[in-house]
């Protein structure tokens, strides 16, 4: 038994209990996939253990681990960007679903596009948003997440994900079109059921 009940400044034996759930929750919010989130957390602890002496003790231990986790999450994003499965997901263009040949809103989508979201309360908005985010092709959701949740600049995201800037704009635009139409559609249907 350890004689000293107070753990040292950075004692790996305490990491899991102290930060395991926190890191997992963060990873899940960014990766939206339980298995990937678990993997990312595991890799974070392994890397932290290997580089234990790099922890300067200046910042918080949690902050140090979060820094490692964020790198691991980006590694997952990169992998998913290149995964052919994720390229196939985008075969049906969202623009073609919303706009006609002349570039106007299609008749069949006008009903829900016209539906205002102003009366939708934050809590409900978030739950629909989360549902719709999960439906996005992962490479779209990943780029959108980096941009909005992590507030990264476009150039930065292109570098991290190794995509061209024109590709980035297309990906982000598609993500936004899909999200907006998904949320409006959900909200529109909810209104019909009342």
């Amino acid at each position: 038994m350890d004689q000293n009940p107070q753990p040292a400044a950075s004692d790996p034996a305490t990491w899991l209990d102290q930060y395991g759930d926190y890191l997992y929750r963060f990873a899940l919010s960014r990766l939206r996939d339980g298995d990937a989130a678990e993997e990312a957390v595991q890799e974070t602890f392994v890397a932290a253990l290997r580089n234990k002496e790099q922890f300067s003790g200046k910042g918080s231990e949690r902050g140090w681990l979060m820094g490692i986790l964020k790198r691991k999450i980006i590694d997952f994003y990169r992998k998913r960007q290149r995964d052919p499965v994720n390229l196939d997901e985008e075969s049906g263009s969202i623009s073609d679903m919303l706009f006609d040949k002349g570039g106007h809103w299609k008749k069949e989508v006008r009903g829900f596009i016209a539906k205002s979201l102003d009366s939708l309360e934050v809590k409900e908005f978030r739950s629909i948003l989360q549902k719709c985010l999960a439906l996005l092709p992962s490479r779209q959701a990943d780029a959108f997440t980096m941009r909005t949740m992590d507030d990264r600049e476009a150039d930065d995201i292109c570098k991290e994900l190794d995509i061209s800037s024109s590709n980035y704009w297309v990906i982000l635009h598609r993500a936004r079109l899909r999200l907006a139409s998904c949320i409006k559609q959900n909200w529109f249907q909810a209104g019909e059921n009342v």
């Binding site: 790996p12 034996a13 990491w15 899991l16 395991g20 759930d21 890191l23 997992y24 929750r25 963060f26 899940l28 919010s29 339980g34 678990e38 957390v41 595991q42 602890f45 392994v46 253990l49 290997r50 623009s95 919303l98 706009f99 002349g102 570039g103 106007h104 809103w105 006008r110 596009i113 016209a114 539906k115 205002s116 979201l117 102003d118 934050v122 908005f125 978030r126 948003l129 989360q130 959108f144 997440t145 941009r147 909005t148 949740m149 992590d150 507030d151 476009a154 704009w169 982000l172 635009h173 936004r176 079109l177 999200l179 907006a180 949320i183 409006k184």
Partner: protein, 84 residues
């Protein structure tokens, strides 16, 4: 004049900043005439805003979400074996 499809692209881009003065004028003129694009733009603004807010306050996932037990055990073993 830009159509709704093109305007939606410009609006999306405007959310990330860099848009020329001319294009911003185009958006504004289009918005005056087109209520669908106005509503759509509002939705895009709100989505970006809500995601940012959700990220600032605790993450999207809630407190009840915990690292699954099987994985916890696995990591525990890795840490214990790696410490020697």
């Amino acid at each position: 004049m830009f159509n709704c499809r093109k305007i939606s692209e410009l609006v999306s881009r405007s959310l990330d900043g860099d848009l020329s003065f001319w294009k911003r004028v185009q958006i504004r003129m289009h918005m005056m005439m087109c209520s669908l694009c106005r509503k759509f733009r509002r939705a895009l603004l709100r989505i970006d805003g809500e995601v940012r807010n959700a990220a600032e306050q605790e993450f999207v996932a809630d407190e009840n979400v915990v690292l699954p037990e099987s994985r916890r055990e696995q990591i525990k073993e890795l840490i214990e074996s790696g410490q020697d």
